[in-house]
Symmetry: none
């Protein structure tokens, strides 16, 4: 039984949510090898939508099959699997009840001319597919950010009323933000905080750099040492209601395994709740990916 005091403590932070939403958060928090630790690893597979199938899967051909990802998330003992509508539909029957799923309800693609996403799934879809949560991306900084915020406001209100949880991917992008600024510490913390203010149960952001983008914010960051990634993670956790909201960090593009492990140690040490890691797993051969995920689990358990 993975319903530990740690999980109970985390759920108490969601004090305005109904028991249905708490139960779905609990499902994610108690599932898999990290079940009960308060940490989690989530497999997201929306790269096909974002970058196209070949860029996503050609390097590891079995990954063209949606069942591959379900099975990977299950075999690796992850906490949840997140994907767009069609990908979940292609496996939700076979894998019903085997792993919590998150329906990614909006999606972008490489050719989009606007810094925005299309709403491609609904709360009703999430219910009929047995999902524990919906996932939604916002682009703070983009010209369309108010529209995106209003979309997730409406969808998360509906999700909460039927006992689902809401995960917000908060990715600063567009508008006046510089490319470097998208990963800036102040920007990342701000983006995480807005997701929390929008009512997200789980917040997904990128690991921030030590760069400070906003002139107005610079003063607030003076005098502290942000060179350590764990310190930056801790700052983002603080921005998420001082740890009252779960925050997970994305790994970004494929990279060398040791870098992935170091990121996880920093997330752990900074008090982050875990990793949401896609390309770094499904773009590796299955055995290699499983070995990497197993090591990530051990890191989050504090075993190495």
């Amino acid at each position: 039984m993975n319903f530990t005091p740690k999980v109970a403590e985390i759920l108490r932070n969601y004090e305005s949510d109904n028991p249905g939403t708490k139960a779905n958060l609990a499902r994610i928090l108690t599932h898999g090898k990290l079940g009960g630790t308060g940490r989690m690893i989530i497999l997201p597979v929306d790269q096909g939508f974002e970058h196209g199938p070949a860029r996503s899967f050609a390097v590891n051909e079995p990954a063209y099959d949606p069942h591959y990802h379900y099975q990977m998330a299950i075999d690796a003992g992850l906490n949840a699997y997140a994907a767009p509508l069609g990908a979940l539909e292609a496996g939700a029957g076979t894998f019903a009840g085997q792993i919590p799923t998150i329906l990614k309800v909006n999606s972008s693609n490489s050719w989009a001319s606007a810094v925005n996403q299309a709403v491609t799934g609904t709360v009703d879809d999430a219910l009929r597919l047995g999902c524990a949560a919906i996932g939604f991306t916002i682009y703070p900084g983009a010209d369309d950010i108010f529209e995106m915020m209003e979309e997730i406001r409406e969808m998360s209100a509906e999700a909460k009323s039927v006992g689902l949880a809401t995960v917000i991917w908060s990715y600063p992008r567009g508008g006046k933000l510089s490319k470097e600024g998208e990963l800036a510490l102040d920007v990342g913390a701000y983006a995480a905080h807005m997701a929390a203010l929008l009512g997200a149960h789980i917040i997904k952001v990128k690991l921030p750099s030590a760069h400070i983008e906003q002139k107005d914010a610079a003063k607030s960051y003076e005098g502290a040492d942000w060179s350590a990634q764990a310190a930056r993670v801790a700052h983002v956790v603080k921005a998420c209601f001082n740890g009252r909201r779960l925050v997970v960090f994305s790994g970004g593009a494929s990279k060398e395994a040791n870098a992935v492990f170091q990121d996880a140690r920093d997330i752990r040490d900074g008090g982050g709740n875990g990793s949401i890691i896609g390309r770094n797993t499904f773009q590796r051969p299955r055995e290699e990916a499983l070995a990497m995920l197993d090591r990530l689990v051990r890191i989050y358990k504090g075993e190495e």
Copy 2:
């Protein structure tokens, strides 16, 4: 991980259900000490509604507290806990994610003048409370049976559309049925069959006696030996689409522990899917009840 081939096999029988409903059935089937075996023990606590609080709980005072029952079902490793609206509301927050729950959406009481029940919960309630299923009682034989059937038709259609499962308590009562007839083999099999035809995912009936009530049916039962309870259970299983639907048996009023164990052995040997056992647990002291439930688990596992 309790998602065994046995569970997958059972889920395949629910071939018209969406993945959400399958996932909720899977949650019940994979939870607790019997998780993965295809057998289950469910704790139902609607006695307070049916018989009043003192008749139900005075013999074991801690049972006045709804948390007592949640904790009992969790500690005993049962598959699910079923109760009316208020009772679930009183504990759904504390125990969110710890055990699958079934919202009993209709209820009778000792003073009712009609052989019927009031609809006291909804599918929306079940969603906000994080339930895996709704539970509904029908009284085949009663004058109001058509009304009851039309109520559950509407509620189970709604439940199925949002990924919940439906449990039907099918208790012959009223009309021309004799008291002895309510427990008759032919009557019990018929009641179970009607629940299946109404679209129930899990059917709950009483353990039938060897009595045959209906004259028209007598011929169909001739020439077979119905003296063994396991044979009678097997007949009811057959009436549930030849085993394509899960069927659990209620224990009835409190009785001596060995009788409870023998019932379980007969249910197991007849191919039934388990017990739904209320008074026989919560009307015993907690330690005694836990010991009894533990032994029931071992019986269903075939260990004794």
Copy 3:
């Protein structure tokens, strides 16, 4: 391709229906061994609801399994299979696209105190299960007949708007009707006519006897010879808008095979559109039932 001029001619009679409903009628009329002949054999399995499982299936145990009936209807090359909600749900996935199905949307049972039925399925159910039609029973003569008529008016209007067909089982029963009267020629013709006036696409009645029940109607039947069953069938066909509506006849309780064959010859010779035959098939061993159905097909084809 079974879309014959005969089928086109029949469809033209449904001149107020939309193409969706016509297409579903065509599916029934072109399917199976009688496809294209304008005749049909339908397998209805609602005996479990009406008489209980043992009385229905004990004589041929494999028939406890809902898949048995789907497979029987398919293997025998019948035009359609009709059953209540739960029975269709138990096989609609496996057999999707293999045979037209009719969702029986109301059902009675042996213990009912009223001469009425419960509405146990909906048009939405029929759509999600891929049915070609809904089926509904009315009891002309019963005290509740107006209520039943109003239920089918609402359901068939909804069915027609979404392109489904409506089959009405019209069984005189209750009120002042004598037992003999339920099968009387005048009563049967009247019951068929009311089904037509209610907007049924296919009308199902029992084979009438030569008895005339209503004193007021006696005069209208004088001077003709009603001793031949084919003549009585022809009269019922006339009552169904002079053949503008499809009418099929039920076989009643199990009986000797030659009687079943003679019934079919009379239906054929009287211009009826076929048989709806349940107990006489599923209460026989499978091979025997298949042989009987094959011979019925040959009879309807005029081959014997």
Copy 4:
């Protein structure tokens, strides 16, 4: 073009109706041989529902076919054809645009135990079938009269909102009314008045006798000579808002032709708007019926 000053004058009486409803009344008033005269003959064929097919049609077999009646009404140059749902559906495609139709939306039958009717059609049906009006029967005096009134209130409100007209068949029956009383002058006038008060555009009543049923009303009828049928018709017309509402009279059971003609002359002379005549036409051979209808037209035109 039959849109005469007379028609315009009649339409002006329907001063709260929308132009759609007025246009449909105009369609009836301008169609056929009596088009433009302010008089009308309507063919109603609901006898099959009320009395069964054989009692209705055996005497003139072609009348079993719904097309027969459409064609009769068209060939005789009548103003409108009224029938229940199934009968209109069977010909509405073929005869679309050839004659105004009235959907009879409630129906009784010979076996009904209540003095009431089932609602068997809807305003939506009337629209999709291209009808000019709905027709509804009330039984003033019956125990269920309030329910019937509430049904027509709802249906005629809906009809008016979509531009259809409402015809009320007002037939005193049931309760404390004596058999003789059902045709009494005071009763008939009262029944017609209630139909007018319920918002009917066209009122259909039976030709009243000179009998006065209600003691309380007797005084009001004293001192006048009611022996002439035309005088009784004039009294009914007065009860219909002093002629502001169209009122037509039914012919009752089949009878000798001269009696039918005399009735028409009395209706004409009393200021009634015409006849609604069923059995007296379709229970005669077609040529005879056409000749009778032609003579009725001449009578209403004042030509004989």
Copy 5:
């Protein structure tokens, strides 16, 4: 009976769909000369909308008549016929039940100023017209792509709930895509993948060239030989969930018959599910078109 193991295998991939949608997919897969092979040929006639009537039909005048196309699809034994609302309405009554139809629910035209389409049909239309599926075009790359995706999300959710299938035409167009890029292999595979992620049951794309458009994707295509069309088809099939979704290829503008045949062989050899072929049939004389379609059938059957 064309319900082969191959069809059953394909249907199993649609594991989140209800039996109604599976039955409609089965209808398409079992109909016509290719019924049961897992391959299909679909006749789409939306050229009149896209290019105007003269450009579409002047070369073969009988094709101005919508019945011509229905009859062609039926006589050629194709799997389905797809067209916009008015074109289906013009023949759906006559051809009801003779061939599965697909309602094209959005349409563009030659004068449109936006790279988008108007929604010109609905799921309700598809039901009343007896269609098996809706068809929808998206233009990945266009400025309005998010709006188009949101439209089909809503319509396909509704379609799935009532048992219809969804076909997505995915045609890269607009935005930064070069003309050559619209047919590029990487672009076509990406477009097909997005249709799958949006929940399409059947995906329609153009046969891709060997050109690679996206710089970011170039690396993923390196080292493989894309000169063979069959290899490119196989890549697109992979992008459709590794073959878990049906994918058919359009033939493009009219061309020489041998080129059409070679395309079909390549589609077949690459594992594609068939052709959707419009102009190449209806812009040829009927006999020539039938001969061509017959040869395409033989090619898909592997007979030449």
